[in-house]
Symmetry: C2
Subunit: 200 residues, 2 copies
């Protein structure tokens, strides 16, 4: 090799990260070697520190530095509405809309009959406990609208169906701003089935 | 914010790397937090170690872990041919062809009249020294075929023009495998001017 072994090591390691191919990894190492030493040290430290200090929120399963996450700590949020998502990145996507002001519950997975992942592998005890404690008015199931997400949603609807507590699922349909002609058949079928009245 | 500050810190820092936008940075942090602690530590260490241990080859300016780089240490290479490049990534590109078996000299830059970068800012002393020592038969100037690279090449041709030493520049023309119709006018003009005889 014409480059030092440590160069190749660094490029190979960066190449294991998602979305970073061998060429991008090499370019990153070139860039990093061009940076002042303290910048590289800062980059390394911020990753280790994040990994060390970030854990799961005791209540909802979101990332947290403290016992409770930022969402659960926020007393201005509506504790009566709980949105159930598969992963924290789903929570992040919903938070970015700014349209939801309740709390969350992160399952950290989904039921997957083919991959043999059952309800026992999901973070469910805590969710049921929150329901039993009695201040939840509505559970919004926001699992992905795909095979595993649908099965998980069906299971949750049964598990959480309690008189007095509304159980809903987020709507599926044609994405806003997109063209009908490019929608796949499943989405379009769903959009037709779940049509809503608009007549004044 | 709905995510811990350390998460955002890590995403912002990764977002400063070339080719990594805010979305990709966030995805990387999600991935990193999902990895075992020792993997994250390994990633951080490999970067710091590379930055700490890699310096420039005393002779040619390539990256090196020792006093001399892997290329200069390789005694099977032809020390009589020296290829001059602007950056180490250019050296890497040439090495990948497997078509060059001589040694290199990395300028770590180019002359840039507009950006007021003159020959004094390039690593030239050592190149001249190598020429004077007398075992160089040919210098191949492989600066980029653009404005600054052309000026640098002209300067080098004058500086290094010594009787008995051949000075060449890598060919410009239509890239192999491409279509004439898509070549830009400058490339096509060059390709016409530098046409070569093919008649048997």
């Amino acid at each position: 090799m014409f480059l030092p072994k440590l160069f190749t090591d660094a490029a190979l390691t960066l190449g294991t990260l998602p979305g970073i191919g061998p060429k991008a990894a090499e370019r990153l190492v070139f860039y990093i070697l061009d940076q002042p030493e303290e910048e590289v040290r800062k980059l390394a430290e911020v990753l280790v520190k994040a990994k060390d200090a970030i854990r799961f929120c005791r209540r909802c399963g979101n990332f947290a530095e403290a016992d409770l996450c930022e969402v659960c700590q926020d007393t201005s949020r509506d504790a009566g509405t709980v949105c159930v998502v598969e992963e924290i990145r789903d929570l992040a996507a919903i938070e970015k809309t700014g349209a939801f002001h309740g709390l969350y519950h992160v399952l950290h997975g989904h039921i997957d009959p083919i991959g043999r992942i059952g309800p026992a592998e999901l973070q469910l005890d805590h969710l049921v406990e929150r329901m039993v404690q009695g201040n939840v008015r509505e559970v919004i199931i926001a699992t992905n609208p795909n095979f595993n997400g649908d099965i998980t949603a069906m299971y949750l609807a049964k598990l959480l169906g309690t008189p007095g507590i509304r159980t809903t699922r987020i709507a599926t349909g044609i994405p806003k701003g997109s063209d009908l002609e490019f929608a796949d058949v499943f989405t379009l079928t769903q959009a037709l089935e779940k049509r809503t009245d608009v007549s004044g």
